[in-house]
């Protein structure tokens, strides 16, 4: 039993219906909205499973359904749906994680007055995300891309009465939109060059070899056309996936409710950039065979990914907010995925994307559970000692932490990270990204150990932490399921690389090569050990006591805690610039454009004054004289107006008589 591509639209349509229900019910209809959201998501999950079954039957085929959107000239603008293993795996992952997070949210958002809106927005997000995944058209993908951005905006700003949340929402939208403009330009370019935006269209699609061959010509700047287009599209991914240098919005996005962070800013939406690049991989890779170009698109991707991976991990070390640590960890992990694509192994990237979705969702939900229990205390320095009080949360959180750190063999994160390292190691262009990734692995293990140690060990360091207790099953059950998945997903890669094979049947199996396993285990152990040495052995006793690392490199730690000053940098450059430009535009408005008009008006007024003086002195006098004469004549003639109606009539009659006489005489003549 499988879902044919003709019915693929049902998957996003179900949550969209739930969003509509949520939008149209009154505020009191939270149960209805939540129920609709969960039920439709469960339905979408089942359908996604069916679709996966259908896709796995023909792993190499791209099943498409293309349709006309509206007429444009002699042809029409076409959109399409696509079903292949990539789509199907993503669909299953998104629907499954969404389902769990929806369930978690019923517990987490229990006390919120706007919970109905929350589920409406979540459903809208899920619909847009699923639409993005199943799109067979870069345009449809872009449409859904913007809609997930909208949902993200709405959900980050869900607690809109907090100014920080409202600002963070705006920041997220604007920052991602900067990237999206690049995406849009790339899309326009592609459309202009190829005349279509369909990925696969029976040989005419933009990802098919015939079309890709069109794009290998060189531009005046030396780049290949496909490189330029690919990099523009990559701009979108940079914005959406929080890559350097547009990663600044992602940590701020943690102002949203934690389920949102888990779903959108860890598991799904931010991974959309990775998905996008994976989806257009043939385009990105189209310039690989050209030798005479200064740079290949994938090289840029790899370096950006490596920078992001290392930078995110570094900054995460110095953060104190439980969600920010996870957020920077997300940035870092997304960097890994980009790196994987950049070095040519998009399969590894997708594998990591899937495993990361589960364990990062798990970690965020665990963090949410902690935050919920600790009455919205998020500072790890003020938490502590939660292990005995929240056993389930601790156990699942620990599993997530180990998966993220890459603890060997048992945890899915190990296998996916291993695949990425392996791919990076084998990259011919440069080895720098590989070393950055290796360093990142150590740091990841380190900061995750720090996080767990600070939160769960030691003594409670605030009232909120000491009063914490385990949460309701609505919140713990999803944790348990996600934890199980984080472990079970190892099976996708080991003992045989089943997933890789399903995603890319053409690629040869590499998983047998275990040469990097041992160094990797050493690195992870190093990170874990260092973390435990600094934070676990002697737990912090007071919230105010300084971080152990501050003693070694206070300047570096301060810079890292300040996120390397990106926000300040942007405020000082881009913000200042746009504000200045706006001031200039406003100035031009008031003084130049309007001023020109006022100047002209003044000229007109002046000429009017001159003309009036001229009239008063010159013309009017003459006219006055003429008018007087005219008036006097009128007075004279008006004497004929005697007021005697009879007289008039008599005159009239006499005139008639005279006239008739004239006529008669004339007739006689």
């Amino acid at each position: 039993m499988s879902l044919p591509v003709q019915h693929l639209w049902l998957i996003p349509a179900l949550p969209l219906a739930a969003a509509a229900v949520g939008a149209l019910t009154p505020r009191s209809g939270r149960t209805l909205a939540a129920g609709a959201a969960i039920a439709t998501m469960a339905g979408a999950f089942l359908l996604a499973c069916l679709a996966l079954g259908g896709a796995l039957d023909f792993p190499a085929a791209h099943q498409v359904l293309n349709f006309a959107w509206f007429d444009l000239g002699a042809t029409s603008l076409r959109l399409g749906l696509l079903l292949d293993p990539l789509t199907a795996f993503m669909c299953v992952m998104v629907t499954f994680v969404s389902l769990l997070i929806f369930i978690f949210s019923t517990g987490y958002m229990k006390a919120d007055a706007n919970a109905k809106q929350f589920f409406c927005f979540l459903s809208l997000f899920a619909a847009a995300m699923l639409g993005l995944i199943i799109a067979n058209s870069l345009l449809l993908l872009f449409v859904c891309w913007e809609l997930v951005g909208l949902a993200s905006y709405l959900l980050i700003g869900f607690w809109f009465h907090k100014p920080a949340a409202a600002a963070a929402a705006k920041k997220a939208f604007i920052t991602t939109r900067i990237g999206d403009l690049g995406f849009l330009l790339g899309l326009l370019w592609l459309q202009d060059a190829q005349g279509t935006l369909l990925f696969y269209d029976g040989g005419h699609g933009i990802l098919e070899s015939a079309a890709l061959a069109n794009l290998t010509h060189l531009l005046p700047c030396g780049l290949a056309a496909s490189t330029a287009i690919g990099l523009l599209i990559f701009c979108g991914a940079i914005g959406k996936s929080g890559q350097f240098p547009l990663h600044v919005w992602l940590p701020d996005a943690m102002e949203g409710p934690t389920p949102v962070s888990a779903l959108i800013h860890a598991a799904t939406m931010v991974a959309a950039g990775v998905f996008l690049i994976a989806r257009v991989y043939p385009l990105m890779a189209a310039d690989q065979l050209l030798a005479n170009v200064p740079v290949h698109a994938l090289t840029v991707v790899a370096f950006i990914g490596a920078i992001t991976a290392l930078m995110g991990a570094l900054i995460a070390v110095a953060q104190n907010d439980i969600k920010r640590i996870l957020a920077f960890s997300t940035v870092s992990q997304l960097g890994y995925m980009m790196l994987a694509i950049g070095v040519g192994s998009w399969v590894a990237a997708i594998f990591h994307l899937l495993t990361h979705a589960f364990f990062k969702a798990l970690l965020f939900l665990g963090a949410g559970s902690v935050i919920h229990a600790a009455h919205h205390e998020q500072d790890i320095r003020r938490l502590g000692g939660l292990r005995p009080k929240m056993k389930v949360t601790f156990a699942t959180f620990a599993i997530g932490m180990m998966a993220l750190s890459g603890v060997p063999f048992l945890f899915s994160g190990f296998w996916s990270k291993e695949a990425i390292l392996h791919a990076a190691h084998g990259w011919e262009v440069s080895s720098l990204p590989f070393y950055a990734a290796v360093l990142g692995v150590v740091l990841t293990a380190f900061y995750m150990t720090r996080l767990v140690a600070e939160v769960f060990y030691g003594a409670p360091r605030s009232d909120e932490a000491s009063h914490a207790h385990e949460n309701s099953p609505a919140m713990t059950v999803p944790l348990v399921i996600l934890a199980a998945c984080s472990i079970l997903f190892s099976l996708l890669a080991w003992p045989s690389p089943w997933l890789q094979h399903q995603l890319d049947p053409s690629a040869h199996s590499e998983s047998g090569d275990m040469s990097l396993v041992l160094p990797s285990i050493v690195l992870v152990a190093l990170g874990l050990g260092a973390g435990w040495a600094y934070y676990g052995r002697r737990p912090r006793t007071k919230a105010e006591s300084p971080d152990p690392l501050d003693r070694y490199a206070p300047g570096l730690m301060a810079a890292l805690a300040n996120r390397l000053g990106f926000d300040e940098l942007y405020a000082a450059t881009v913000g200042r610039l746009s504000s200045g430009f706006a001031t200039l535009a406003a100035f031009l408005e008031v003084f130049v454009w309007d001023g020109a008009v006022r100047f002209l008006a003044g000229l007109g007024e002046l000429s009017g004054l001159v003309s009036r003086e001229n009239d008063e002195a010159g013309f009017n006098a003459g006219f006055d004289a003429g008018s007087k004469t005219l008036r006097d004549t009128g007075v004279a003639y008006s004497k004929a107006q005697t007021g005697d109606a009879h007289g008039y009539l008599r005159t009239l009659a006499l005139g008639f008589v005279l006239l008739l006489i004239l006529v008669i005489l004339g007739g006689a003549r």
Binding site: A23, R27, W69, F70, D71, L72, G73, A74, Q117, L139, F142, V143, C144, E146, L147, L150, G157, F160, H161, K162, P163, A165, A166, A167, A169, K170, F173, I174, R177, I178, L181, L184, L185, L188, W189, Q191, D192, G195, S578, S579, F581, A582, T583, L584, A585, A586, L588, E589, V592, W593, D594, A596, V597, A601
Partner: protein, 539 residues
């Protein structure tokens, strides 16, 4: 003896009824009805202004105004989109000595704008006019304005066209001056004098054209100018001057940057309903003039001037968006966003004119260019309609803010309105996102097509113009954030949510935004054949 006759037989024998009257509904002059029904309403209201109760004085104009929508619907039902020429034409001699005809007709472009007028006008009368002074006179002026705008969209002879064009200024002037805000008098004078100043040059231009060709008819002039022979109108420089005159008249109306100085104060000071109409319908008159007059009549000159105009339009896109960021008056902000959106239309038209093949005898167009041209022109028309919807909705939202607070509309006067008024926040948010071109809402389609077209013809211009998109997002989100988000402060405390009337005003606009965002074919199908023909012949 008398034969017993049935009634039908009897009437059959009665030939006194004119035969034409029996098969009546074939030759109804639909377009004349479209134009003049609002005028009749205006006259009626003006005559009865003292007799009408306040509520009747409010309802009657709405009913008359609805006539446009109803008649427009009938026209839509009978409209044949495949025909790219004029339909429903009526032509009667008017002033024989000047060869002036009352010639009206409609193609896809006119139809789209007529429908827009039909949608916006009743809403602009319905929503914001509950507390308006002298509703009957207000309604009469508004209907006069509406009829004139329709006349502009339908007239095919310069003379009546110009009459409608100028006539629309009179009611607009009074509406702004008498019902507007504190600075209304100045804004109204500026608006009228600026526009009349522009159209004076246009009139001169057409006088010159008439002197040369002895006709005012757009279609005939188009035939002359595109007749295949070399430039017919005048030789050399004279045509350029005529072109510049006409261009100036239209450019002021659109407005083309930097002739836009009148717009922000006029829109900001006008009463809400008038603002809605001005921005949705009246601003379209200029763009319509570009497509209907300037381009067909002066293809060569337009092509020559297009590169400069393209940069001006680009300036409009970018500078007005950035200028909007610095506005603290919400209405001025929305007014600048209007300039920004209309500049996209100009951008698209100028891009097509810049690139297009000038010589109609040279049809060997590159496929890509032609597709870009089609996309740009379609985008222009769709953008005209979509901007009409979203800008009207935005002005209405600002009007709601004003009406709740007795005229406050500063960016800092509100805060956290969403807490108390979720419905208002939601609908206003949809309008905002439509305006900033969010996919799924109507604004995206037009902007996408415009960018698609402009990119194909002038890539760097498109790239720079994206700055405008960014700035639009910035200031609209600032609007939304400052007014609706954050803790409830200022006038946002205990803000009353929308009532049924206001929802009924915004509702149709919002619904249309969704419908057209998802099914653009509804509009695109009307204009596509026309635009395809244009792209092949016009530039």
């Amino acid at each position: 003896m008398h034969r017993e006759r049935t009634r039908n037989e009897y009437e059959k024998e009665n030939e006194w009824q004119p035969a034409a009257a029996r098969r009546c509904p074939v030759n109804i002059p639909l377009l004349s009805l479209l134009i003049f029904t609002p005028w009749v309403g205006a006259l009626l209201l003006f005559v009865l202004r003292r007799r009408l109760s306040a509520s009747l004085g409010r309802i009657l104009p709405i009913l008359f105004s609805l006539s446009t929508l109803i008649l427009g619907g009938i026209v839509l039902a009978r409209f044949n989109p495949v025909i790219t020429g004029m339909q429903f034409t009526e032509k009667h001699a008017w002033i024989t000595a000047l060869n002036v005809h009352y010639h009206i007709g409609l193609d896809g472009l006119s139809l789209v704008l007529v429908l827009l007028t039909g949608i916006i006008s009743p809403l602009a009368l319905f929503g914001p006019t509950r507390q308006v002074r002298c509703p009957a006179i207000h309604g009469a002026l508004f209907l006069l304005l509406q009829g004139s705008a329709l006349g502009v969209f339908l007239a095919l002879d310069f003379f009546p066209w110009f009459v409608f064009w100028e006539l629309s200024l009179v009611p607009a002037f009074f509406l702004i001056k008498l019902w507007g805000g504190p600075g209304a008098a100045r804004a109204a004078y500026q608006f009228v004098i600026y526009t009349i100043g522009g159209s004076a040059f246009m009139l001169l231009g057409f006088a010159a054209i008439f002197a040369e060709t002895r006709t005012f008819d757009f279609l005939e002039l188009k035939l002359i100018s595109m007749g295949g022979q070399a430039p017919i109108l005048f030789g050399g420089a004279a045509t350029t001057w005529v072109f510049l005159g006409v261009l100036l008249g239209l450019a002021v109306k659109v407005p083309l940057f930097p002739f836009h100085a009148w717009l922000p104060p006029a829109y900001a000071e006008a009463p809400t309903g008038t603002s809605m109409f001005l921005t949705s319908v009246m601003s379209k008159m200029g763009a319509y003039g570009f497509l209907r007059i300037l381009w067909p009549l002066f293809p060569l000159q337009f092509h020559a001037a297009a590169p400069i105009l393209l940069w001006l339009a680009l300036g409009g896109v970018v500078l007005s968006a950035f200028a909007a960021m610095k506005q603290t008056d919400l209405k001025r902000m929305v007014a600048y966003s209007s300039i920004n959106h209309l500049s996209y239309c100009l951008l698209a038209m100028c891009a097509v004119a810049t690139a297009g093949p000038v010589n109609p005898a040279f049809p060997a167009v590159m496929i890509g260019t032609s597709e870009s041209g089609i996309a740009a022109l379609s985008g222009t028309i769709l953008q005209l309609f979509n901007h009409g919807l979203s800008a009207a909705a935005l002005f209405f939202c600002v009007g709601v803010l004003e009406s709740r607070t007795g005229g406050l509309r500063g960016l800092g006067d509100f805060g956290g309105v969403r807490t108390a008024a979720p419905v208002f926040a939601g609908l206003c948010g949809i309008a905002l996102f439509s305006s900033l071109g969010l996919p799924g809402l109507n604004g995206f389609i037009g902007e996408f097509l415009i960018f698609r077209g402009v990119f194909g013809l002038a890539p760097w211009v498109a790239a720079v113009a994206t700055l405008g998109l960014l700035a639009t997002a910035l200031f609209l989100l600032t609007f939304w954030q400052r007014v609706f988000h954050g803790p409830a402060t200022g006038a946002g405390v205990n803000f009353r949510d929308l009532d049924a009337t206001e929802i009924a005003t915004l509702g149709p606009l919002i619904v249309l935004m969704f419908v057209l965002g998802i099914f653009p074919q509804l509009l695109a199908g009307l204009i596509n054949p026309l635009v395809t023909t244009w792209a092949a012949t016009l530039p």
